[in-house]
């Protein structure tokens, strides 16, 4: 139907002179396309749209844990959230966590991809082993590492004590100073294989001919990497880091299960904090306000995310 409709349209005048068709006209012309996505759209509205609206609504109320009443407070929840030092501490933690994890996972993952891309005996096994952290569940990973690194009965601390490398137990999860680096390291351990797979896939598409040309042109290993490999992987690198960034910004499980945000909120992240406010303290209104703030922050970052992704494609397609 859509096709036959398109056919009866008059021949378009030269492209440069034609004014952009109105939004409405464009929607009408593509009505069938909207019809096709309608079911999916409907489900999205139900499972995403409704909770969003509900959360925004709830964020203007106070919801005392002991009563079922909602008390209108206007922007009270917002001023309280944004005005608290705790919010800013958590925000700092979250960015420390996100930037640190993403950067480290990227560097280590890239290195691993370069190593396992080479031909060597046992390459398949090494690849498989390096993939393990990625396929382990977050819950299992959290408990394993908690057990490894526990200061009193942890494997690492105990072994080092036995060997006499350290004199006092190694305090990591319970140290305000060391808890963030520790959870970040565990997170990097969990995430670097993702970077590795993505970049490995990309590395396999680097044109052989281009590498050869660079060799003949006198480029050594580093120059070939920098002038051929990296430009070729640019798109993959961009997407991988952005995906990781978003995932890390929304992290919950690993930190919640390993430290619960402690000690004294030293490893509290946005999402763990919201969880605590909502389901521990049962202050739904405040949690909603918190969520709305995060939603806005992420929405604005998502804008740049989409722009970077589509912008990259556009510049490549630019005509001569």
């Amino acid at each position: 139907m859509a096709l036959s409709r398109a056919r009866v349209l008059p021949v378009a005048p030269p492209r440069a002179r034609r004014p952009r068709p109105g939004l409405f006209a464009s929607i009408v012309r593509h009505w069938a396309d909207y019809l096709y996505v309608a079911p999916a759209l409907l489900v999205m509205v139900l499972v995403i749209g409704y909770p969003v609206v509900y959360t925004v609504y709830l964020s203007f109320f106070e919801t005392p844990p002991r009563s079922g009443d909602w008390v209108w407070t206007g922007v009270g929840n917002y001023t309280e959230t944004l005005g608290s030092a705790r919010f800013w501490d958590t925000t700092r933690n979250t960015f420390y966590w996100t930037v640190g994890s993403t950067a480290l996972a990227f560097v280590i993952g890239f290195g691993a991809a370069l190593v396992v891309q080479r031909q060597f005996v046992g390459r398949g096994i090494v690849r498989a082993i390096l993939l393990i952290p990625y396929v382990i569940s977050h819950v299992a990973a959290a408990y394993v590492w908690r057990w490894f690194l526990h200061s009193d009965y942890g494997l690492v601390s105990g072994t080092l004590l036995d060997w006499g490398v350290i004199e006092r137990p190694l305090v990591l999860f319970d140290s305000i100073r060391w808890v963030m680096p520790t959870v970040i390291l565990v997170n990097v351990w969990k995430e670097f294989p993702f970077v590795m797979i993505m970049l490995l896939a990309g590395l396999q598409t680097v044109p052989d001919q281009l590498m050869r040309a660079a060799k003949v042109d006198g480029a050594g290993a580093w120059n070939r990497f920098w002038h051929v490999t990296v430009p070729h992987l640019k798109g993959v690198i961009l997407i991988t880091t952005l995906l990781l960034f978003v995932v890390n910004l929304n992290s919950f499980t690993l930190v919640y299960l390993m430290t619960g945000g402690g000690p004294a909120g030293a490893s509290q992240l946005w999402i763990t904090e919201i969880y605590n406010i909502a389901f521990r303290s049962l202050r739904y209104g405040e949690a909603s306000a918190y969520s709305v703030v995060l939603f806005l922050i992420m929405l604005s970052m998502g804008y740049f995310y989409v722009k970077a992704l589509t912008g990259g494609g556009k510049s490549q397609r630019r005509p001569a």
Partner: protein, 383 residues
């Protein structure tokens, strides 16, 4: 600049022998064209010289230096790749500048040389574009430029003109030839196009199935092909090749074709034919087939298949038994299909090959003058 020497080089990919004991000497300043059908190992040979593939066996020398184990970047060769291999993220300028940059050439000199190369190739107006924004022919010229911008020991070129249109190709051919003469460049040049080989090359190397068949100046390869393969491959339209048995008729040597035709042989040719195993392949070029509309004694009767006027001359395709034979006549020559035409092969330009070994049967005086060249190895393995 320096010469390039290949000694018995071999490249195997598992069971496939892509290059089979090829020996070749490119003198300093010489332009050598490497020709052969698709898949015969031309690109592989070039890659071996460039160091992009590892030799299975044999030696490669640049000048007097053995370079078997030298890294490609240290061989100081420039290469034009069959499919351009331009750096997609770099502008044309930076593509051309890259090999200079990698060798630490000062910025000012880079700029000057890039401009000059771009001028030679008429791509000055494209310097700010990315390879994606160029046509195939333009990309090819940039690829060529990336090699010409340097001053290497030798140039390796893998069909560098194959994607240009006919006019541009002729023009670039002239440019390349001039460039070669001006700087005395050593060039190893792969091509499908025999015109390129004939017009530009000092020497021509014909390969087939990884084996070097013949190596010599183009006109010599054309006039004295050492075996059936070279005879059929070099020249356009290809040489007519007919199978025949050596017999005698009227007290004179003669050839009897498998289709029953009979053609007399001159005493000299009869002596050559006598050296064969009994069966020969007769090779005769289109312009050495004489045509007649009337029956003549000793001439072979054929039927016209098609007539192709080309402007300068007319190609006449003739049916001889089940085989087709190409002859050429002057521009006005015309005939209708199935007309009877009698042909005679020019005795002085008749090529005779042993049907079993497929090697040329030497002409007594040609052997004396040393005109039939070709490595002994090529002759030995050609059959």
């Amino acid at each position: 600049m320096a010469g390039v020497t290949l000694r018995e080089i071999v490249k195997e990919y598992g069971d496939v022998v892509a290059v089979d004991h090829v020996s070749l000497e490119v003198q300093d300043g010489e332009f050598v064209a490497l020709v052969g059908p698709s898949g015969c190992g031309k690109t592989t040979t070039l890659n071996l010289v460039a160091g992009l593939l590892e030799l299975t066996d044999g030696d490669i020398l640049i000048g007097d230096k053995l370079i078997n184990d030298l890294d490609p970047k240290d061989r100081d060769l420039a290469m034009v790749f069959q499919n351009y291999a331009l750096y997609p993220n770099k502008k044309v300028y930076d593509n051309l500048a890259f090999p200079l940059k990698m060798r630490g050439t000062p910025k000012g000199e880079i700029a000057a040389r890039v401009r000059k190369t771009a001028e030679i190739l008429s791509i000055e107006h494209l310097l700010d574009r990315k390879p994606k924004q160029l046509s195939g022919g333009q990309q090819q010229r940039v690829a060529l430029g990336r090699a010409l911008v340097r001053n290497p020991k030798a140039f390796l070129m893998d069909e560098p003109l194959s994607n240009l249109d006919a006019k541009l190709r002729v023009q670039m051919r002239a440019e390349l030839k001039r460039f070669h003469q001006e700087i005395g460049a050593t060039v190893l040049y792969v091509t499908h196009d025999q015109m390129e080989a004939v017009t530009m090359a000092d020497k021509m190397a014909v390969m087939s199935g990884g084996v070097l068949q013949q190596y010599g100046p183009p006109d010599e390869v054309y006039r004295h092909p050492v075996n059936v393969f070279v005879a059929g491959f070099v020249g356009s339209p290809s040489m007519n090749l007919l199978r025949a048995a050596v017999t005698a008729a009227d007290g004179q040597g003669a050839l009897r074709g498998t289709e029953g035709w009979l053609h007399p042989l001159s005493p000299a040719n009869a002596r050559r034919a006598a050296a064969s195993s009994g069966d020969v392949m007769v090779g005769i070029r289109h312009n050495q087939v004489h045509l007649s509309r009337e029956e003549r004694p000793g001439w072979v009767e054929t039927r016209v298949y098609t007539v192709e006027p080309t402007g300068d001359l007319t190609y006449v395709h003739l049916r001889l038994g089940g085989q087709l034979l190409v002859a050429s006549a002057d521009a006005e020559w015309r005939a209708a299909p199935d007309d009877r035409v009698w042909v005679e092969f020019d005795q002085g330009s008749l090529h005779l090959f042993d049907a079993q070994t497929e090697l040329a049967l030497p002409l007594a005086d040609a052997v004396a003058s040393g005109a039939t060249v070709g490595s002994a190895r090529a002759m030995a393995t050609a059959g």
